[in-house]
Symmetry: C2
Subunit: 652 residues, 2 copies
């Protein structure tokens, strides 16, 4: 089994695709890690904005989060409807394209693509950042750890979405049980005592208030908290991954993700003021995250604390997985419409869109390397793309219902959703513009233009290649065969035989002085051999004997000189096609490439195909040293399923 | 003009090679920098061994260096004779091969190759090391500086040996004039005053003696001092670079190098005890090299001091150039005999052996990167290779004269040379074995085995390919053409036309389900188009209509499936050759590769050629979007000399 087989698994047949579908059990880990992880940084981000208000400001997290929860509920209802209306694939791209036009669809796609890439880089880097602040010894290896996590997520996703769901089940449900239980415990305690609780490990006192609450500050807190909502659209992009009935499994997955996220957000923002937990300045050495303070206050620094915080770290590191489910499927849809290279639409050996996965891993890896594994500065960028896609998708759904009378309630839901996410987008853009959101405003149109340029390219080629006429059979004249010959050997022999079979007129061209001024010349011998071994036998067989042209190449150029001779021959016999017969020793091992050199033949073929004119074709006559083994290729490309490959049990 | 044109210059014609030859003026800088630079580290290395003897030991440098100078004189006489006897190319490889047999030649070649690679890495790193100890600010950029110098030397040598000689003239002659003048001044002063001189900047007092002089210590000092002699053989390897009469220019160059080196070594070892200059411990922060101490003692730290030390640094950095002249020429000779890939024997655009230059730069660069630009630990390795080559070359020359009676004096010179360098080799091996010379003892045989393995590979291929029979014209039956078809377009149209021209039996294969289980199928349309646009016209033209086979590929494999169909067709029609006609959109720009994807076609062609059996050939039918411009290729490969390209002066 080859390397790909070990890491990614055997190639799957098309018919196995049904068995690769997922249910909500795998769907929540596969698509929900981004959303779940958001529960950690959403409240933290909002509380960070509230720091200047001091202890008084803590209570303001509740109204801010309440607005966010309302928006989340709206998004939930809207996306439920979207999944129902587009049961095959209802991502923002499709919804916006079908209801608002191609440009709106591409705008949504561009925004989402950028969002997905950023999410991978920021998610992994945030997770590893939390890990290294817990274990400072790991700090020098930040970038390496980020790339390791990226590699693991990439390989797991190349194996398939099913595998990703199964592998990431453990940390996901561990997180839900441990952290959820912990928060629930704190909530019940606070509820019973009417909010009069004593933190077990008291959080550090909040810094003094330096200013009063303003609308602008609250809006900024809201904009920061909105990062908690990114990742909710992933389910609608990946409906095709679900078992039949897809709508049911899609709904369940969406419900699971939003319910867990909503509960976590609600409880956290309820408990933060109760336990007097606020955000701390990250640049201080004694920094602790909000959730770490809260967990310590509720349950102390015991085993449960460490399990909960550990599973949170795992969730953060793996939140990138949502992008790995969404991005390749989005790219596939965009590629199918001709806006991305076709390779994005071709399923790989495991029936997932490997090119999209690798491209995502590559770009995110590049970002991680460029920023040294610390991507804090990218955080402001990445809610913009998500909310732009949200808004376009909701708006598209609203138009969808507008054209279908009798769906007033649905129209209302999606319309309100569009208005809500649109307003949130405006707030986010305004609040984060200077911090970096302006970059998105520049990059999204660039990606959009790129997509349209690619589309134009394919359109032009398709137009040029379109053929509605029957094949032309007139003017089929016998071709002239041209053979570049270095010396007389069995390879040249085979090429001459082939040429004589294909054409009545065969010309061999031997270039001299290719090896410099003082290279030995063996022209005389070649001429003699040609006369005896080629011309005479051809003559006695009653054929027109192949000619041998011996021409110097004073600049040691090969492709150019041969092109020159080919054009001269073409000029002599206008209208006749030219077959250049290239004899080639087939390279079977890597050392063959080094020792036989493939560059000159490759360059020659390319130059001939590119500049030989419309009537030239290249015939490669191979010479193999070992026998053919076609079954090797077939087996490598079409492995039998393991159960079939197993030997039948031996009769005793 | 392309990038290569800007950096390396236009392609030179074979006939221009005469104008590229060099005389001793360029020969000394091109081939002598290694030898000249040795004057700095030879005495230093010997004096370092003498440190434990304290002030008393300083005087012992004179007898040690006297022996080295005698050896140098012997080498000089020997190599003069070698150049005369082998006026085309008299390197150690050729001399040993022709007189001692192929294995001795390959042993010399392996030793020299390793020596050349080490010399590049160690030379550059020593030069940059001296520079950074002069300007400590540069220390963090050691590796970058090393690679920059390597890149400069590589580019200059790719332009040609003539250019290398011209460019490196300035530092070479500046060094000879400034340092030579300085030392001469010191020598005259010491001679006049009878050795009673006062150092202007007194060198630090030598450390106290910790042991007495022993034969073993003197032998080690001699072995270390012998590093001063490496590089002397370069002239004999590069005789072909000289103008006619090559022997005269070769002799002059050799004389120039050895004379300068000998004088420098002699004067330095005479003056070191006079001015009480000894080697210092390199690990101490106040470390100064012997030459720096000596220059300061003679002339003070004035302008002349800085010019002399600056030119010395330049010489050290550029001493790698000797390898760049010798290595490619050596590899070319070895490759011409079939012991290295043929590409090493092909002259590049500037008539130098570019592959050897690039290979040398690559290996030396790798060593520099691996050792972080500090290659002190490699120094013990690198006299061994040189002295092994010296000895084999001298021994070869001795046998040369033995077979030609009447050359007793010459036999004596070369015999004594062989004995001297052989003895020196034994001393060096013994003295440096533990320090690292054992690595050479392991690596040289490995390289030797590699060379012989390559030779065996070429011999086997040549034997398999040898063809003494006339071309077989029996059994030439009409081929069957197989066309992989994706859809009906002008490209498929062109392929079908070509196939019909080449063969009476045409089969098209269309694979379905390549794009996954849920991809749309356009089989019906293709089948209709085939019927109307291909079968009908062929029938009405009275030809057997091309068949269309529609086959599913459940594993989305392309090459394997097609191979399967090809083998089935071959099994049906045994003995008939099969032409697989592949229609291909020619990629003209880098984005074409990204957007059209070249990997599948490339993989398909490779699999067909490798596993299609002996009767299969691949016809590539190109489809170009832009018109052919063969003159572009020809002009790129064969630029006219600049004088010819200049426009004629306009008549006024």
């Amino acid at each position: 089994m080859d390397l790909a087989g070990i890491f990614i698994g055997r190639r799957l047949a098309n018919r196995e695709s049904e068995g690769r579908k997922i249910t909500a059990i795998e769907g929540v880990p596969a698509m929900g890690l981004d959303g779940l992880g958001s529960s950690a940084y959403g409240p933290e981000a909002a509380l960070t904005i509230l720091i200047p208000l001091g202890a008084e400001g803590l209570h303001l997290i509740r109204p801010v989060m309440a607005v966010i929860l309302v928006l989340l509920a709206l998004l939930y209802l809207s996306y439920r409807q979207t999944i129902e209306a587009y049961p095959s694939n209802g991502g923002s791209y499709i919804v916006a394209k079908e209801n608002l036009g191609a440009n709106a669809g591409l705008l949504a796609a561009s925004a989402l693509m950028i969002d997905y890439v950023l999410n991978v880089a920021v998610g992994i880097s945030a997770g590893i950042g939390a890990l290294t602040s817990a274990i400072p010894k790991l700090h020098p290896y930040t970038l390496e750890a980020c790339l390791l996590v990226l590699a693991v997520i990439t390989v797991v996703n190349l194996r398939g979405t099913l595998e990703a769901g199964l592998v990431f089940c453990v940390p996901t449900y561990l997180f839900v049980v441990s952290f959820g239980g912990l928060l629930l415990f704190g909530f019940v305690k606070a509820f019973i005592t009417g909010g009069d609780v004593t933190p077990i490990v008291p959080p550090p006192p909040p810094s003094a208030a330096t200013q009063g609450a303003t609308i602008w500050l609250l809006l900024r807190a809201f904009a920061s908290g909105c990062t908690a909502m990114t990742g909710v659209e992933a389910v609608s992009n990946g409906v095709s991954a679900f078992h039949e009935p897809t709508v049911k499994h899609g709904h369940r997955t969406l419900t699971g993700i939003v319910l867990i996220l909503g509960l976590l957000l609600g409880v956290i923002s309820y408990l933060a003021p109760v336990y007097h937990v606020g955000a701390m300045d990250q640049s201080q050495p004694e920094y602790q995250s909000v959730l770490s303070q809260l967990a310590g206050a509720i349950i102390g620094r015991g085993a449960i604390y460490f399990v909960a915080i550990g599973s949170l770290l795992a969730i953060l590191c793996l939140s990138a997985n949502t992008s790995f489910v969404g991005f390749p499927r989005l790219c596939r849809l965009v590629a199918r419409d001709g806006y991305l290279p076709r390779a994005f639409a071709i399923p790989g050996r495991r029936l997932v869109y490997s090119v999209g996965i690798l491209w995502l891993a590559g770009t995110a890896g590049l970002l991680l390397v460029l920023f040294g594994g610390i991507t804090d500065r990218l955080i402001p960028l990445f809610a913009v793309g998500a909310f732009l896609a949200f808004t376009l998708s909701q708006l598209g759904m609203a138009f969808h219902w507008l054209r279908r009378p009798g769906n007033k309630l649905r129209l209302l839901v999606n319309g309100t959703g569009a208005a809500g996410t649109g307003a949130a987008l405006a707030v986010i853009l305004a609040a984060k513009f200077v911090e970096g959101a302006w970059i998105v405003v520049i990059v999204v149109p660039c990606v959009l233009i790129l997509l349209k340029t690619i589309h134009h390219y394919y359109q032009v080629i398709d137009r040029e290649l379109r053929d509605d006429r029957p094949v032309g059979l007139r003017g089929l004249s016998a071709p002239i065969a041209v053979i570049p010959v270095q010396r007389w050997d069995r390879l040249a022999d085979k090429a001459v035989r082939y040429a004589l079979m294909l054409s009545p007129d065969v010309v061999a061209v031997h270039l001299t002085k290719l090896e410099g001024p003082d290279a030995e010349e063996h022209v005389g011998r070649l001429r003699r051999q040609w006369r005896e071994d080629v011309e005479r036998p051809a003559e006695s067989a009653g054929r027109s004997p192949p000619r041998l042209i011996i021409a110097p190449s004073p600049y040691r150029s090969f492709a150019g000189r041969l092109l020159k001779h080919v054009s001269e021959i073409a000029a002599h016999c206008p209208g006749r096609p030219i077959l250049v017969v290239i004899p080639e020793v087939v390279k079977e091992h890597w050392w063959d490439y080094l020792l036989l050199g493939s560059a000159p033949v490759h360059k020659l073929r390319k130059a001939l195909l590119r500049h030989g004119g419309p009537d030239l074709a290249v015939v490669t006559v191979p010479w193999t040293r070992e026998g053919p083994h076609p079954e090797e290729v077939i087996e490598a490309e079409e492995p039998q399923p393991e159960e079939a490959a197993k030997p039948a049990p031996q009769p005793v």
